[in-house]
Symmetry: C2
Subunit: 229 residues, 2 copies
Amino acid sequence: MVESDHFSRTTFAATGFMTALPEDVHRRLLNHGLVRQFAKGELIQQRGDPGREFWHIRSGNVQIGRYSFDGKLSIFAVLGPGESFGEQAFLGEFPRMVDAIAGNDVTLVRIGEKELQEAITSDPRVARILLKTMAHMVQQAFDLVNAGRNLSTVERVARALLGLCEGEGHTVSISITQQELADLVGVSRVSLGKALGKLEQSGNIERNYGEIVVLNPLLSRRRHHSPAP
Amino acid sequence: MVESDHFSRTTFAATGFMTALPEDVHRRLLNHGLVRQFAKGELIQQRGDPGREFWHIRSGNVQIGRYSFDGKLSIFAVLGPGESFGEQAFLGEFPRMVDAIAGNDVTLVRIGEKELQEAITSDPRVARILLKTMAHMVQQAFDLVNAGRNLSTVERVARALLGLCEGEGHTVSISITQQELADLVGVSRVSLGKALGKLEQSGNIERNYGEIVVLNPLLSRRRHHSPAP
DNA sequence: CATCAAATGCTAAGAGGTTTACAATTGGTT
DNA sequence: AACCAATTGTAAACCTCTTAGCATTTGATG
């Protein structure tokens, strides 16, 4: 009955492995990195790409997901500053398995596969930390599958919102369109609208143009950990 | 447009990491292991357990999933001989996050956390292989989320069946009840029944008591890799 | 300030899944 | 052979989501 809440607070992806690294390794990786900017909406990496470098987010946020063949987007995670993505392709030795889109204007640090390989071989702790991070990702993915099967849309929307406001403050404003949130939750915009309506009526959120205000994230978060039987 | 199909053929979980290990490491782990039997339906590990050993399947199959608080079971994977489970808790340093149930009478080899830790530190290739395996698991989990959002029930049932007959032969008989398959796909038994009916009508399967016969797994598998636009 | 594209609110029709209930079948057991 | 529990087949009511369409609001731009 207890949900996984060990690591990251983002919607998914425990990709805080960079911050968990030993100081010197962390610095070395970032120092060798190339800083690069992407404009809102730009495609940072595409499914099928052979590339194996990975990215550290300095500012902005990045949507991780997949465009299906008919153009529909399914977002698995929204990553923020300090988090990283793209290690999977290197570690798994396969091409990119997800698309990454700039959620707004972002500044990234590009880290080459050689540097990561070096970090892994130079310090055994690095592999250990990576393994730990990946284990968390797998569990969060299970949570996601489970949520999709067992929770109502309203509950899933609530979860997604709580994941997006990183646990802070009494009132958090999230800058996101309803379409984006719908893609993240995995429902149509109409259904999302209804769900948001209910959450608003029960006093948990407020809807504005391109923005959603979450009123008591801490309270709601706690409530959601022990659902009524 | 290409699905992940690099590693395992089971419904999920690329947990073939044992077979990918160097010969000597593989043998050493299994030699130190304690052999143990479980009867059909027995609970091998339970969510929340603090244990950190892991299990190698010698014969039979094991269902990996979660019982929700209201008693519903959601199966994420069905693992078979040669595969393993339970490493996650050790690697992630958290309690068990899933339940494991004996799908039929199974023989397992129990491997202690010390042995695994030893294997990791003794040979750098082990960590590398683990990382690769975990990366594959994450991607398969994404596939699962994506399938739940974008595919019809019939398609998901077809996938699950193909995953269960490990790619072999012209005709594979799967020993599974409709309820179990429904738990695996994440739908009700009624919906599963309808889906099976359609698959039967189109000549892909035959339904028997406690068994489903998949007629041309190889053909269907290929067809499913390049869906029509 | 006028205009326009993006975003939101809303409705109605349709499809598909769930629940509940009950009948029919199967395979093992006494 | 008779019986029983497990499994499967089916039907109907109900509910939720999707699609498609259109009106309205908002914020930016010229």
